[in-house]
Symmetry: C2
DNA sequence: CTGAAAGCGCTTACAG
DNA sequence: CTGAAAGCGCTTACAG
C-alpha cells in the first residue's frame, strides 16, 4: 500500500532515477523509446511525484496563497469572493498549481500569514484582496520579495503587480444615466470606507454630482451587510428632500434597500430608483429585478491568477486593467415621478 | 535575502541542527536554557521551517484538501460553501494546517484530484461534500487509504468517517408545523436529485405527508438556481389544486419562488406559505422575511475539520451527528386562507 | 544517451 | 543532554 516513488519506476524500467526524472519532466537526456516506456510504467503503477521532494529540490511550492480578511458572515453572503475564487482556481489548476486559502481576522494576522507562508516556502506567490489606503501589506510584501498580485487599484499598489477595474468610470456612467432619467437627488450607500475602492467610488461620486449640479450627493458608509444597508436606506428615505435614486455598493445592501422602500410604502421605481453594484443572480430574483453594475468576476480572478503566475515566472510587475463594470438596466430604475 | 534555515539557527546558537529541531518541536533532548536560546534566535532571524523539508522527513503535508464539484455560478450564489469553508478554515489554521481548495467539473475529475493529491502527498486528508447515492468517491478513498471525512449522510459513507445532520427530522418537523397551521396541500421544490441528502429529504417528505394524510406530496427536482426555482414555482401555482405551502431546498429558490408568487398576484403568506431550507441573511432581506430551516454552518465545517484531524491522527472513523436544523418562523408562513 | 552522486532542509534513531 | 549521520524523494550538474 506504499505510494510508489521514482525509484520504483526506475527499477521496473531498468533505468536510473535520473532518467525517470528527465522523462517525466520532458527534459532532454533520454531517448524517445525510453521516455515512452518510463511514462507507461509510471501511469501503470499510479506514480505521482512527491511534491515535498520536488519542492525541496526545485525550490517551487507550486501553490499560490489567498488570505481573506473579512468576517465570516459577509464572506458567506457575498457571491463576489466565491466567484473570484472559482476563476482563480480554474486558471491555477490548468497549470497544476494548488490554491491555499486562509481566512484571517485582520491585516496584522494577514501579514503574519504571508511571512509564515513565504518562510515555509508554502506558496510561490499570493493574491491580495481588499486593498486599503496606505495598505500595510504592500511594503511588507515588497520587503519579503514575495511575488504578489494586488486585486484592486489603481494606485496604492506600490511596486506590486495589480489587476484593476475602473470603478470611477463605472460610477460616473451610472450617475449620468440616472441624471439623464431626470433624477436630481441621488444618494449612495457605500461599502467599508477603509477600502481603497470605496474611496475611489466616493470621490468619483462627489465629483460627478458636482459636475452635474446635483444636490448634496451624500454617501452613507456601511459594511456590506443587509442590516446596515437597510438602516442607511431607512434614514435616507426619512429625511426631508429624500433621494429619488440610491446607488448601493453591493447587491445585498441593494436588496435590503428595496425591502425598506416597500416597507415604507414607496414604489420602486416610481418613488425610488435603485442601482446595485455587483450583478449577481440575486438581483434578478427580487421584484422588481434590480438595475445593476456587473462584470465577469470569475474572469477577473482568472486574470489575476494568470498575472501572478507570470510574476512568479519572473515577469516584471505590471498594472493590468480588467473590464469596466457595465450597467444593466432592469425594473428598478425609471424617471422620478413628478411632484 | 536568502530565507534562513535550521543550519543558520544552529550556527548562531552554537549547537547542532538536531538540537534546533528538538527545541523547535518541543521534543526532549535539549536543556531548558538551550531551548530558550534557540527559540529566541529563531524568532530574531525570522526562521520558519521549510514545509517541504519537514514534510519529506515527517511524511505529513500539514494540509487538508477540499474539492468542490458544483458549477461556478451556484457556488457563488450559495452562502453554504463559503460559510462551511470559513468554519473549516478556523479550525485548521488554529492547528496550523493549510486548506487546499480545488474546484472540479465532475466526480471523475474529483477522483483524479484525490489520487494526485495523495500520490503527491500534497494533503494529509480530504473533506468530501455533496455525497451521492452509490458515490464513486467513497470506494476510491477507501482503496487509497486517504483519510477522509464525508460531510453528509447518514448512510452511503461506507467505512469513511462522517459528520451529518438529521435532515429527515428537520423536514418532518417542518411539514408537521405546516399541517398544524392547517395546510393540506404542501409541495416541495427540491435540490439536485442525485445528491443523497435530497433523496433523504424526498423520502422523508413523502412519508410524513402520507402519515398525515396530505394530498399528493409532490417534489419538483431543481438545481438550486433561482431560474429553476422560479420555473418550478410557476408550474406548481398554475396547477389545479395548487399548493398552499411550498418548501424549498435552498434559500435562493425560495426567494425566487416568493417573487413568482408576487408576480402571479398571490399574497404571501395569505395565499401561499413559503419555507426555505438554509437560513442565510438573504431570508431576512426580502418581504415578507422567510420562515427558514437553519443551523450553524461554520460550526458544521469546524466540526468536520476537527474530525478529519482526528482521523489523520489515527482515530477510528466515526459517524458524528451534528446539530439538526431548526425552524425559525417568520412572515412567510401562516394558516391558509379559507376558500 | 545514460548512470552515479550530491544536495535541497528538515527529522530521528543512534552513539557518546 | 548533545553531536554526527542517515534518510525522506526528488532534481540536476557531472562524468562516462
Amino acid at each position: 500500500m506504499k505510494r510508489p516513488t521514482i525509484a520504483d519506476v526506475a527499477r521496473r524500467a531498468g533505468v536510473s532515477k535520473g532518467a525517470v526524472s528527465y522523462a517525466l519532466n520532458g527534459q532532454p537526456g533520454v531517448s524517445q523509446a525510453t521516455r515512452e516506456r518510463i511514462l507507461a510504467i509510471a501511469t501503470e503503477i499510479g506514480f505521482n511525484p512527491n511534491r515535498a521532494a520536488r519542492s525541496l529540490s526545485g525550490a517551487t511550492a507550486d501553490a499560490v496563497g489567498l488570505a481573506l480578511c473579512r468576517p465570516a458572515r459577509t464572506l458567506g453572503i457575498e457571491p463576489f469572493f466565491m466567484e473570484l475564487i472559482s476563476g482563480v482556481e480554474a486558471e491555477l489548476s490548468a497549470r497544476s498549481y494548488a490554491l491555499t486559502l486562509q481566512v484571517v481576522a485582520d491585516q496584522e494576522a494577514e501579514v503574519a500569514v504571508y511571512r509564515r507562508w513565504w518562510g515555509e516556502r508554502r506558496v510561490d506567490g499570493v493574491l491580495v484582496c481588499d486593498l486599503r489606503t496606505d495598505d500595510r501589506r504592500v511594503p511588507v510584501l515588497a520587503e519579503l520579495g514575495l511575488p504578489a498580485v494586488v486585486i484592486g487599484g489603481p494606485g496604492g499598489t506600490g511596486g506590486l503587480a495589480s489587476v484593476w477595474s475602473d470603478d470611477a468610470a463605472a460610477l460616473v456612467e451610472t450617475v449620468e444615466y440616472l441624471a439623464a432619467l431626470g433624477h436630481r437627488r441621488i444618494a449612495r450607500v457605500g461599502g467599508l470606507p477603509a477600502l481603497l475602492h470605496t474611496e475611489i467610488r466616493t470621490e468619483a461620486f462627489t465629483r460627478v454630482c458636482r459636475r452635474l449640479g446635483l444636490a448634496d450627493a451624500v454617501t452613507v458608509p456601511c459594511d456590506y451587510t443587509g442590516e446596515e444597508g437597510a438602516r442607511a436606506t431607512r434614514r435616507l428615505l426619512s429625511s426631508a428632500g429624500r433621494p429619488t435614486a440610491v446607488l448601493y455598493d453591493n447587491d445585498v445592501m441593494a436588496i435590503a434597500g428595496l425591502s425598506v422602500a416597500q416597507e415604507m410604502g414607496l414604489a420602486v421605481p416610481g418613488d425610488l430608483s435603485i442601482v446595485a453594484w455587483d450583478d449577481s443572480p440575486l438581483c434578478q430574483l427580487v421584484h422588481p429585478p434590480l438595475t445593476a453594475l456587473g462584470r465577469d468576476i470569475p474572469a477577473y480572478g482568472a486574470h489575476a491568477a494568470r498575472q501572478l503566475l507570470a510574476v512568479i515566472g519572473g515577469s516584471p510587475a505590471g498594472r493590468v486593467q480588467d473590464e469596466t463594470a457595465h450597467l444593466t438596466p432592469r425594473g428598478s430604475t425609471a424617471p422620478p415621478r413628478v411632484g
